[in-house]
Symmetry: C2
Subunit: 188 residues, 2 copies
């Protein structure tokens, strides 16, 4: 009974989580993943991405279904609002990465979560991307995340879960540190 | 007739685009935007974000409709694949940002695009987020973008459009430079 309770804590299969950790410890190459998105321009600032295949644990894999997402600019930014802006997807990526890590870490530490909510806000001065002020950067000047976390542990234990999730978050690292990006163009 | 053709080039309303640039030149404060996402944990690594309200051009605004996006981990990463991983949304954000900029810049320069496709791949070693190797970072080690661009201009002109889009991309800046992120927690 104890095992069952442990396995289902926070919806995280902790037995498999720990088994995965052991498997990667034994074969570190298994942890090399490549994720991909393909994108097709539709019109104006509107484009659509497809997310399906990825590589991991030594072989080509794919999601259980193919995902499609549109992005656009709102009318105030000379678009047609067919989807969120690209920079809003960055906020979504950050919130979901921190939250997934939080649930996993809580399960591993034996904490049962009852509620996790977050709001992520990013301030951006479009004088940057509009090329009107060379002192203004193109991207967010700053991002703020506000978490509400409830669970069966004291506040300081819950706060420590968020801190550990931050310390192990892929998207937090991508945003707060530098990732080299190479762009190749085949034009005709 | 020339005006109509120009206005509809690449689906970009260039008259409004240039008018927006002039308006921001006259009132730089109008370019201060704040974007937001709210997120709710569902179970395990699965959470759902809502994107709706934003601030810009001096007032609160909202998208024409409210957008919802799920993220999760695939089964191989101890999730249930209810959505792409957070790091895949980062690739989507980069592709859509570069593509929107490309269409705007092409329209402004009088180039008619006929096709824009891109593939974005990110390599990540999960020994980082699994905490198994302190020398491995949490996020992508590198990202590569491959564009196919077709239009009514010579290849070097089309390539220059991508280069200018890169130079003015918010998401490219966020990923390749550092954005400060502050996290607050209300735990109970």
């Amino acid at each position: 009974m104890t095992t069952t309770a442990k396995e289902s804590r926070n919806g995280v299969d902790t037995a498999t989580l720990f088994a995965t950790l052991d498997a990667v410890k034994a074969a570190p190459e298994a942890a090399k993943f490549q994720f991909r998105a393909t994108n097709e321009w539709i019109t104006g600032t509107h484009s659509r991405s497809t997310i399906d295949a990825f590589f991991g644990v030594g072989e080509e894999r794919s999601h259980e279904r193919t995902f499609h997402f549109d992005a656009d600019h709102p009318a105030i930014l000379v678009g047609r609002d067919n989807g969120p802006t690209p920079v809003e997807f960055v906020l979504h990526a950050l919130a979901t990465c921190l939250t997934a890590g939080l649930a996993n870490i809580a399960a591993a530490r034996g904490v049962r979560l009852t509620e996790v909510r977050s709001t992520v806000v990013g301030d951006i001065d479009l004088n940057g991307i509009l090329g009107l002020n060379p002192k203004v950067r193109n991207g967010y000047e700053g991002i703020e995340v506000r978490f509400t976390v409830k669970g069966d542990a004291p506040p300081e234990v819950l706060e420590a879960l968020v801190e550990q999730s931050r310390a192990r978050s892929a998207v937090f690292d991508i945003i707060t540190n530098q990732v080299p990006v190479r762009i190749e163009v085949e034009a005709s």
